[in-house]
Symmetry: C3
Subunit: 324 residues, 3 copies
């Protein structure tokens, strides 16, 4: 995964949104500020702005995800776009070539924006590389690589409550190794200048040399959560249980599940976040998920505004410039 | 199933539409009169009114029903709403808790109205109880409990042809025991002051003490249809055949299937209705379904206007007041 | 398949679009000219015209086809129609009667236009015969019978590059026997006065007495492609391989797959077309599909404009008259 430059137009404006790696602080701030302006739309009598009227947005989910697809669909419709939902699971998409034939055909229909989810890392970039200039790609999750819109809504939610990132300590807990969400969060948090980013996980669920991503690894929740300002829990993919990566659900919950007891080690006004959907009693206790520290539903709300922001920016409806 | 009060806002306007039980005559009349005003929309060049523009309606069908979902989708689009169709069958919704997580997430996206169908009685009420004030719920069928929009379109269709309910005799024929449609129809017909409501079914398909619902039970079609003004046939759920509730399809048709012979016992200008989809030759003969007395397709047409009316009213687009 | 007259209103305007057989040259030209006027819409900032605003278009695909359904959905939305997608595969549609009940119910909802795909030849005509006057039917492919919108976008694409049909030689290559696309193409090309239409296929994939359709049959690519101006490749249905109609994929490709070698026998500026989706290396070599002669993606682009044209015309948004 190289060539972050391909996310920009020649004039320096953002054209695709594939990964946070390689984006500068100004670009991220622009996305957050634009999202701020869309928060208000969700409270209006008529929740619509005409920015993408007459544009065709294609939700192209090779990997199924009702929840994420729905947020993009709502965001696009609030921008007044026409939305086409495609779930080409049944297509023989085992060959990358066939995926490209699919998107080239869709592009030939004069569609404007593809929201792509795919189980292969790099799929969104591959598609972007083969699209003509007028089509923008937004990555809605590719393999273990990146889930940049999720990371942006997460930092947006943090900023709502803790605007001073320079003094912030954030811990990400769970299966860092396989998580595209964690990877994008780490890039976003570091680019925005967060004081400290920790990852907490058993050794089997951490990448080797994880420190090179700019994080401090912990294997113990009590130590890792000490004085932390924000805890981001990851969803445990239950299929990991079948391998030898986790001993048992009960043991995982005992060691890494977020309970009020463990949370007591964090800062008093700690924020608790989770990308959803949550596994209650597995990676997070219901008392915490539904408790006063939880921002889980705020994340969902902000996801609409942040995705509106990103779609509007890459479609040229809002200007942003690459910093030099 | 208690707390019908929860269907109303504090100011007495209708906020949810979960069940007809507990609604007063004025509320039902308001729904019918508002539907009347929408009938015209279906005949216009441009079949759209702007009442719900910028609102997001979510069709949340835990139980699959293409037909009913389509009528709600068309009704919402004619009100200019944005519509999201979700069929969360694959979600692990065996625990009520997970259903609530699903709807809380959807609500966090600033959606405005959920149209809910679920195989559990009380599901729509449960969801309504956990939603914040700004979200309205319309019950599109919950288990064996209620299907109130179907009942409203049925009484609307009757009123079009027989506005004088006080002298009307209506018979509902079929599997009363398992039918949410019948239960809602009985409440609507009695609340609107129909002179007599009969139910006709074998004993195995009638609830015990069915008279307490305000109906007269019959086990014989000839007697039950005598001088009746409206016959409402219920769809026979074919899975009932596998139990011992019905001896055979042929025997059921012989005893309870609606034929022109049996219909001869009814009033000369009897109206024949069925919520659809019909099982031709099982509960109704094709000669009757397609014959001059049949209003089956009128019911479908009216379903759009009645659902527009109910969605507009609960969203505050039309005012109605709870009678004291 | 008789009664092409049923495609017209009493005043001679086109009401359904079921088959090209029986349509006159003027009608086809009117469709092509109207499509021409819609090509521009795909390049606008706001890709929408208000012709079908407030109309309800139902995509009724009894046979699944994401690609074709998407083009109709995009075309309808660019005409500002409301679109309902239905894929009634699960319905018990083995009896024609049930299909009719389905469409009669949809019609009762005051829908305006059905786009119908069905695996039975004649399904779209059957539905049209049972619809009331205000509903139009567009055939999106019925069995082996016809796929008239595909044929119209094909002749539209040819006309863009070779407006002089009188001197044009066109070859259709592949499984003519089972192809609704080929059948419609042959009618369109002959009606528009193309000089010569050839079909190239093994004997097992040609109808008996194919000459009666107005074509010249060839069994050899070198002879059939000699001096040809346009080659239309058909998609090979892989299920044919299981019968004895084709010896093997490799042998088929050797004999009938379109390669640059074989293409050298055609006119120097030959146009290569394919309705898609293509089987690379089976009926067409990637070098040809992606090469300078290929119009495959132009066909997709034109498909939107042609389907907009046909939907607008049958809905009365554009006038066309049956020639006498």
């Amino acid at each position: 995964m190289t060539a972050p430059i391909s996310q920009f137009n020649d004039d320096g404006t953002l054209h695709h949104f594939l990964t946070i790696e390689g984006l500068g602080r100004e670009t991220l701030i622009q996305i957050l500020d634009t999202a701020e302006s869309f928060i208000d739309v969700g409270h209006r009598e008529i929740k619509k702005v005409p920015l993408l009227r007459g544009k065709t947005v294609v939700n192209l989910f090779f990997e199924s995800s009702t929840r994420t697809r729905t947020t993009f669909e709502i965001a696009a419709k609030r921008l007044s776009a026409d939305v086409i939902n495609l779930n080409p699971l049944r297509l023989s998409t085992s060959k990358g070539e066939t995926v490209l034939d699919t998107v080239k055909n869709l592009e030939a229909m004069h569609t404007d924006l593809f929201v792509v989810r795919h189980s292969y890392s790099g799929a969104a970039l591959l598609i972007a590389q083969h699209m003509p200039q007028h089509v923008s790609i937004v990555n809605a999750g590719d393999g273990r690589h990146a889930h940049p819109t999720q990371a942006m809504l997460d930092v947006f939610t943090i900023r709502q409550h803790r605007p001073d990132f320079q003094n912030l300590r954030v811990a990400i807990v769970g299966d860092i190794l396989h998580s595209r969400v964690a990877r994008s969060q780490i890039h976003a948090l570091n680019t925005l200048g967060v004081a400290e980013v920790r990852v907490i996980a058993p050794k089997t669920l951490l990448p080797t040399e994880v420190e090179r991503l700019g994080v401090r690894p912990y294997h113990d929740m009590q130590q890792g959560l000490q004085d932390i300002d924000v805890v981001i829990m990851l969803r445990l993919q239950l299929e990991r249980m079948q391998g030898s990566l986790i001993a048992s659900e009960q043991e995982y919950f005992n060691l890494y599940g977020l309970t009020n007891d463990k949370l007591a080690h964090a800062a008093e006004d700690v924020l608790v976040m989770h990308p959803g959907p949550i596994n209650r009693g597995l990676e997070i206790d219901s008392d915490v998920a539904d408790g006063p520290h939880s921002l889980i539903l705020s994340q969902v709300t902000n996801g609409i505004a942040v995705r509106m922001s990103i779609m509007a920016i890459v479609m040229g409806g809002q200007s942003t410039r690459r910093e030099d």
